[in-house]
Structures are given as structure tokens and as C-alpha cells.
């Protein structure tokens, strides 16, 4: 990273190679189209190259790159007009996720199928829900890191993560049920 900051193109190339897919995954989560995500991917790395000397080393390089991508995404992704501001009561989210309902027959899915089902369920979530799941559960960022990156308070982040997981569980149940 230090070499990339000094303008070493090979070092920067290696950095791109090791983090590009993670940056693209977050960009996909945060934007509503593949094309937008690709713009975010490209512009994030261009910005990283131009401002590599701004990397302070108080986070991992990966976290720093993800933060740049998040800022780029915030510019291209217009905030959804009419996004509901009211919050669904927790018990409703829970009920959709299977809380207090009869257990659905356990389908012993192969790992590959389970993975595909999770990816499909992710697609059905909002950008905000996807982003928090990517950062906390997939990238493994800490709560404070993810909160800083998404520019929300820690307790809002925790609530969002919990609710995103419940919505994901609900989507998994729906997916399982509508399966042919």
C-alpha cells in the first residue's frame, strides 16, 4: 500500500487485483443496477489511485477502499423518493422470518444450493439492507467500522443489521415456498 501511495503502478495493480471483487460486491449492494455498480467500481479505484497518500493506515486497506466505494455510490445512487420512513414493528418482521410459526420442513439443501438461495434472497433486499449484510456478515467489519462507513450511529447500525437478517430469512422462506 505504501508503494502504491508513492505511485508504484505494479503495487497499485496488485491492490486492485486483491480487492476488486469486494469493492464490486459492495457497489452491487448499494446501487440498483449492474452498470451503476461498474461505474462505482471504476471510479473508486481511480480515486484510490489519486488519493492513495490519504490512506492513514488506521483501517485495513480493504475497509478504506470500501469507504471510497460507498462515497462514490452515494453520488450515483439517488436516494429513493418515497422510501417508507415508518418502521415495520419487530414482531411483524419476525413473523415473516418464521418467528412463532410452525417450522417449515427442513430442506437439507446442498451447500451450493444454499449459497444460491442466499444470493437470491440478498437480491430481493433494499440497498440499505444489502450493504449492512455485506459489511458486517460477509466482509466481517466490526460494528463501529461499518457504522462509520455507512455514516450511521452504532445503535442504528445494529438495528439495521438485525432487521436486514430478519428480512433475509423471510426472503429465504418465500424462496423455498415458491420453489417448483
Amino acid at each position: 500500500m505504501r508503494r502504491a501511495a508513492r505511485g508504484d503502478r505494479d503495487a497499485f495493480g496488485a491492490l486492485v487485483a486483491s480487492h476488486q471483487s469486494a469493492v464490486f460486491r459492495l457497489a452491487r449492494a448499494l446501487t440498483s443496477s449492474e452498470a451503476m455498480a461498474e461505474d462505482v467500481l471504476q471510479e473508486a479505484f481511480v480515486a484510490a489511485w489519486r488519493h492513495a497518500d490519504g490512506f492513514k493506515g488506521d483501517s485495513s486497506v480493504r475497509t478504506w477502499l470500501l469507504a471510497i466505494a460507498r462515497n462514490k455510490a452515494a453520488r450515483v445512487q439517488r436516494p429513493r423518493a418515497g422510501e417508507p420512513t415508518s418502521t415495520v414493528p419487530l414482531e411483524h418482521l419476525g413473523a415473516d422470518a418464521g418467528w412463532g410459526t410452525d417450522p417449515s420442513p427442513e430442506q437439507a439443501a446442498a451447500l451450493g444450493e444454499r449459497r444460491d438461495a442466499l444470493l437470491e434472497a440478498m437480491e430481493s433486499l433494499s440497498e440499505a439492507d444489502r450493504a449492512v449484510l455485506v459489511l458486517r456478515d460477509m466482509e466481517g467489519l466490526s460494528g463501529p467500522e461499518a457504522a462509520a462507513l455507512l455514516d450511521v450511529g452504532l445503535s442504528a447500525l445494529k438495528t439495521r443489521l438485525h432487521r436486514a437478517r430478519l428480512r433475509l430469512m423471510a426472503a429465504l422462506r418465500r424462496g423455498g415456498r415458491s420453489d417448483q
Binding site: G7, R9, F12, V16, Q20, S21, A22, F24, R25, E38, L41, Q42, F45, V46, W49, R50, L90, E91, H92, G94, A95, A97, G98, W99, G100, T101, P103, L111, R114, R115, L118, L119, M122, L133, D137, M138, G140, G143, K158, L161, H162, R165, L166, L168, M169, L172
Partner: protein, 98 residues
Amino acid sequence: MTSDPKEAGVAHDREVGGIRCLEVLDHLADLLDGRLDAATREQIEAHLRDCNWCERFGGAYASTVADIRKLLADPEPLDEAVQERLSRRLREALEVHR
């Protein structure tokens, strides 16, 4: 007046071990992260021992999170065309001296 809340059309919620199901649901993420104070954790553990609804749902929640962490940890490699366009864009940008 012991009506089954499920028959009443709402999600279950009862007090077991000194804590209600809805509070347990609210605390699941912190429980999983090991971030609860000892007193709350003990209450929830007592609840989970005696409330089969929450025991089952808590297990499903934990295993979903474990699956996400295990199966989706590694991002998919970039599509070749996306990769190619990224390289081209970066070659252009790196030409220009910063």
C-alpha cells in the same frame, strides 16, 4: 383467558424466565455477538431453555447468520468483461500523472 396468540393472529409473545419472547427477538443479534450483559444473557438463556418457539427461531437465526458468514465470505470473481473495462479505465487514469 389463556388464548393462544397464534390463534389470535399475532406472533407469539409470552413471558418465560422473566423475559418476553419479543424482547428475546430484539436481543438475538447481541446474543450472537456475545454483547449482552450477564444478567440479560442469563434471562435469555433461561427463556430459550423453556420456550420452544424462541429456541427454534433463535437456532434458525444463528444458523442463517453462520451460513452467510461461511458461504458468502468470498466475493465472486469479477466477470471478465467487467475486469477488462476496469483495467482499461485504470490504464487511462494512471497515464495522467497525479
